[in-house]
């Protein structure tokens, strides 16, 4: 299928560039593999040459006196010379052009040596043509040049110095070396054509592969797009579910809030009355804690009333009432109403930019997140339990508020649903705390996320942008200056 596509479509520029890369990779790989192959062949020829010399012509004789035949050292040392350096290059510089040219020269000289070691047998002369064919495995027609030059030089030199050994006559014609070199050139011609043709096929294969890769990338991009669309659809369904739950919750909250607000007001009035009567205007009676507790009761009743209001606001979707809101005091205020043994640290920098935020909603956000972390803290970690609220400025002018704990982390399946309304893992929880946080953050135009590492802890990050009005004001002031 892909082949059909590749054959019928024209490769674009990127595919051609990729094809070039693939072609070069394959060519280099081929050269390296062939270098290795020749390294083995050279060593094998060396062993073979020594075996021939030792078996066929071990000794030269003078009557009964024998001496090592010249073929033996020639096979060992001459053959070693023809093997060692090209093999060294094949192993240490595989794929380099100089390596294969040296190998080509060595391989052709091996033909000469083997011909001599085998007593000039006509069969050994086929080694020359076999070697040329073997060199064509490189698919680099340039290797035939040094190979052929070696053959020509060999015959020219021998014609000049030892004509009978090459041509069988002591007075060969001047052109005689061309007869031998001509047959080599004849084979060269075919092998050069074969090499060029093989390179073309290799390039065509590289183009086909590049096109297939290109199509595969397109398919992959489409798959990613489809996955993204599916995830968005899923998120949309979750949001719709959440919205429906919130609608139910809104009705319930409105009803309950309305019902609770009046009794709570009565409790607050009663508490105020009892406090006045007991304290009688004196804030340090017989027990100084009494006044303190009356103040706490009053403050918390107020907080309850506020939460009910907030819940009603949340259910009704109350927009934040923005005003310049320094974050650090908000965090201090939130910490003051969370009774806990866990160490709480306000690491919000003093010089953090002041954004226009709804102070009450931000206080509620911090309380909910810190309270959540404190309640999640296992008893076994209490000795080192710690919740840190910090913030860092964003280049855009906003900041990221982070609530980090070491409560042991949240499993992935819980983390993915943690901001859903009515979702809770606590036995006494309502599943509203983090949903309210998420809702408030969204109404501020912010984003909330949780990062967790099991066994370590979690970090809730709230990215709050600099509100547009403030940006516009700053821009105007800058323009005016």
């Amino acid at each position: 299928m892909s082949t059909t596509i590749a054959q019928t479509s024209t490769p674009d520029e990127a595919a051609l560039e990729r094809a070039g890369e693939l072609f070069r990779e394959r060519e280099t790989d081929l050269h390296r593999r062939t270098d290795r192959l020749f390294a083995y062949l050279l060593v094998a020829q060396w062993v073979f040459a020594i075996a021939i010399a030792v078996t066929i012509s071990p000794y030269a004789w003078t009557g009964k006196v024998r001496a090592i035949h010249a073929h033996v050292p020639m096979a060992i040392f001459g053959g070693g010379l023809l093997t060692a350096f090209p093999t060294f290059l094949a192993l240490s510089r595989p794929g380099a052009p100089s390596t294969r040219y040296v190998i080509a020269v060595a391989q052709m000289l091996w033909s000469a040596l083997l011909i001599h070691l085998t007593g000039g047998r006509i069969e050994t002369h086929f080694h020359v043509f076999g070697s040329l064919a073997f060199l064509s495995v490189y698919r680099d027609y340039r290797v035939f040049f040094p190979a052929t030059v070696v053959v020509v030089i060999d015959h020219v030199l021998r014609q000049a110095l030892w004509p009978e050994s090459a041509f069988g006559t002591t007075t060969p014609e001047a052109w005689r070396f061309l007869e031998h070199a001509g047959w080599v050139l004849f084979e060269d011609a075919f092998l050069v054509i074969a090499c060029i043709s093989a390179r073309k096929e290799m390039y065509a294969a590289a183009v086909r592969q590049a096109q297939v890769e290109s199509l595969s990338r397109l398919d992959q991009a489409k798959t990613i797009e489809l996955d993204t669309a599916l995830r968005e659809l899923e998120a949309s369904q979750v949001a719709q579910l959440r919205s429906e739950r919130l609608a139910v919750l809104g009705k319930l909250a409105a009803s309950m809030g309305h019902e609770l607000r009046n009794p709570l007001a009565a409790v607050r009035n009663a508490n105020a009355y009892v406090a006045r009567r007991v304290l009688g205007g004196n804030e340090t009676p017989w027990d100084p804690k009494v006044a303190q507790f009356f103040a706490i009761i009053d403050k918390e009743i107020g907080a309850c009333g506020k939460i009910i209001s907030d819940l009603l606001d949340f259910a009704r979707g109350r927009e934040p009432t923005r005003a310049p809101c320094p974050l650090r005091p908000v965090v201090d205020d939130a910490f003051s109403v969370i009774p806990t043994k866990v160490a709480l640290e306000n690491a919000v920098p003093e010089d953090l930019p002041v954004l226009d935020l709804d102070r009450d909603q931000m206080r509620q956000v911090v309380i909910n997140l810190v309270q959540n972390a404190v309640e999640a803290m296992p008893e076994t970690r209490m000795a080192t339990a710690r919740v840190v609220v910090s913030a860092r400025t964003l280049p855009s002018g906003g900041y990221v508020l982070e609530v980090r704990d070491n409560a042991g982390g949240i499993p992935d399946d819980v983390a993915s649903r943690i901001f859903e309304p009515l979702f809770t893992t606590k036995t006494t929880g309502t599943g509203l705390g983090l949903a309210i946080v998420a809702s408030m953050v969204e109404r501020h135009g912010g984003k909330i996320r949780v990062d967790s590492q099991l066994g370590e802890g979690s970090c809730f990050s709230i990215e709050l942008p600099r509100d547009r009005a403030a940006i516009a004001t700053a821009a105007l002031m800058q323009g005016g200056a």
Binding site: W61, K64, H71, F77, L82, R93, W162, T169
Partner: protein
């Protein structure tokens, strides 16, 4: 070792040139060895009276004196096979194998066995190299051709270089002699091991 590799890579052109020179020198040494002839000896111009070998009286007699162990002589034997095969005149061909004086049994080496297998070629043994000395041959592979009346028609080798088969001047001379009867003007060198005086 690592230093050597790095050095060779840094001076690659020099290394290749040095390698080429060494290889060239080795090949020249090989060619020089292969082209170095043995002693041409003092071949007798006529069939020696005291010769223990029998000369054919109806056709030429070809003698090849060989050292049984000489590896270079195998090429001479192959050339002899070619001469016997191609020549029109069927000469009486004798391969005279030098052996030790004390040799009790016929010598058997690859060269001798190959000579034995040649059709029309007779192998005889020459204990102590007596016949070789009579005929004046001193190098293995020395060929002498005599006419039926004992006149020497050819002396020399039948290979172009030491232990190397292929077209060569000596073989061409002998073939011409046994085919057309043309007697060559020059003798070819003999390439092979020295027969020695005390074989």
């Amino acid at each position: 070792m690592r230093f050597l590799v790095a050095w060779l890579h840094r001076h690659l052109v020099f290394a290749i040139a040095a390698w080429a020179l060494l290889v060239g020198a080795s090949l020249i040494a090989l060619f020089e060895y292969k082209g170095r002839p043995g002693s041409d000896g003092h071949p007798s111009v006529a069939w020696p009276e005291a010769a223990g070998l029998e000369r054919a009286t109806d056709r030429p007699t070809l003698l090849m004196f060989i050292h049984p162990e000489c590896p270079c002589t195998r090429a001479s034997i192959e050339e002899l096979a070619l001469i016997v095969d191609r020549s029109d005149v069927r000469a009486r061909a004798l391969v005279v194998v030098m052996t030790s004086e004390a040799a009790a049994a016929p010598v058997s080496t690859a060269t001798v066995d190959r000579a034995r297998m040649l059709p029309g070629v007779e192998v005889v043994f020459d204990p102590g190299g007596v016949e070789a000395a009579r005929f004046g041959a001193e190098t293995s592979g020395h060929v002498l051709v005599f006419s039926p009346n004992g006149e020497r028609l050819y002396t020399g080798g039948v290979t172009g270089s030491r232990g190397h088969q292929g077209d060569n001047f000596g073989r061409a001379q002998v073939l011409a002699l046994l085919t057309t009867g043309a007697k060559g003007a020059a003798a070819a060198h003999v390439y092979g091991c020295a027969l020695g005086n005390d074989t």
